[in-house]
Symmetry: C2
């Protein structure tokens, strides 16, 4: 089989998230698979590195598809150009590479970087408003950093997962949480080995609650220990969230 890896960028505003949901929904995976089918003349499954929720954006989503070598008649360049010719303007394929046979966008991933962008300037941003969550109350970023330090490391993040029926392990490792403010925009970057359902958004809602003073930073350890979604903060809205990068062991890509 030939195995192709795609790097994708999309504005999630108009979509019901990444994952295919049947014939009637409007998802990013479906848009891409429909174009793949028209390119190769037969249905092809596209594996994403993970689902992004409705309204969430991607700067560097990764996906792969496999095709029998005998059917693999297009170069990486041709595949890229075909996608970008037929995709709507809010989805772009940034790159196509040949991948190792065993490469799988989700199963091979070793980590992800998400960024949440908050508009906390004195005057709200006009031109980036679709990609920011506006917080009017002043945010104490130092306290948010203290809370972020408690969240970093290997923990059971059950309190930060909106899927109550999650039966698999809810233990994850967050390598770092970096908060940076510039020109009235606070970006929070989460680098972790994996993220539970809504995890980046609940982490953000919790940090915002700390920033506004509604929640003391020192309560984070008890929230983690409680393993109860109701202890953590709100689920921050999707429009501020970007999947920035997906990490893989180096040998997976044979470019």
């Amino acid at each position: 089989m030939a195995n192709f890896c795609l790097m994708l960028q999309y504005d999630g505003t108009r979509y019901n998230g990444w994952q295919r949901q049947g014939n009637t929904s409007n998802t990013i995976q479906e848009k891409l698979e429909r174009i793949l089918e028209s390119l190769y003349g037969e249905p092809i499954d596209l594996n994403g590195s993970g689902r992004t929720d409705a309204g969430v954006h991607a700067l560097g989503q990764i996906a792969n598809f496999r095709i029998p070598r005998i059917l693999s008649r297009y170069s990486c360049r041709e595949i890229l150009e075909y996608f970008n010719k037929y995709l709507p303007a809010d989805i772009r394929v940034l790159g196509v590479e040949k991948a190792d046979d065993r490469f799988h966008a989700r199963l091979s991933a070793t980590g992800k970087l998400y960024e949440y962008r908050i508009d906390c300037g004195e005057i709200s941003n006009v031109f980036q408003r679709r990609y920011l969550t506006r917080i009017d109350e002043p945010l104490n970023i130092e306290k948010m950093r203290q809370a972020a330090a408690f969240l970093t490391g290997t923990h059971d993040f059950k309190s930060f997962c909106d899927n109550r029926r999650m039966k698999k392990s809810t233990v994850r490792t967050i390598y770092s949480i970096v908060l940076e403010e510039e020109d009235g925009i606070l970006s929070i970057r989460y680098h972790g080995d994996g993220f539970l359902y809504h995890m980046a958004r609940i982490l953000t809602g919790t940090l915002i609650d700390v920033g506004t003073g509604d929640l003391p930073a020192g309560r984070i350890p008890a929230i983690l220990e409680g393993r109860d979604r109701s202890l953590a903060g709100f689920t921050a809205p999707p429009q501020g969230l970007f999947l920035v990068e997906v990490y893989y062991p180096e040998q997976n890509l044979t470019s």
Copy 2:
């Protein structure tokens, strides 16, 4: 009279331009004047530095309004906050200052800076696509710079004006035209003493025609001399154009 100067930012996408057009249209001036009227309890005229067309944006539009001192009961800060409380998210007041009695946003202006943004990257931009004009053909920026040099200076810009019934002088001075490309976005900055109807957009359309090779840069002097709109290039679409800054003699603002 008290005289207040506003600095404004707006995303022009949803609006029929700056200028009030009656009761049924949707213009930026109307939005602002309606809020001024509700603040002071009587109709107040707002003077813009100039009209921006439907779909054109502003990073730093300037406007002023006068009010009898006896009615002037709000501070600059209160005026700013009232505007930003009631304006839609795509219009923001960035600053309010007291101005010299004689200051008039349009009549006192000595120059303007417009920027046109072109998406000429190999892969079109997902997140700024609403504020860019996409050009798929490769652009020869050196040739565009040669053409820009011919346009710089004091000329009769009648060929670059879409108002055929323009009876006043069509002579204007362009101090500089600066082209810069970064990350697949070409920005063209026009600094001039004033701009005719659609002038920044026709200049841009003409430079694009030079960039794609449809028009030799050396033809610009003849286009200027011809004083005929049909000689110049197309009128570039509004969504790539920003009014960046308006210039005044320093003594006008008494902040």
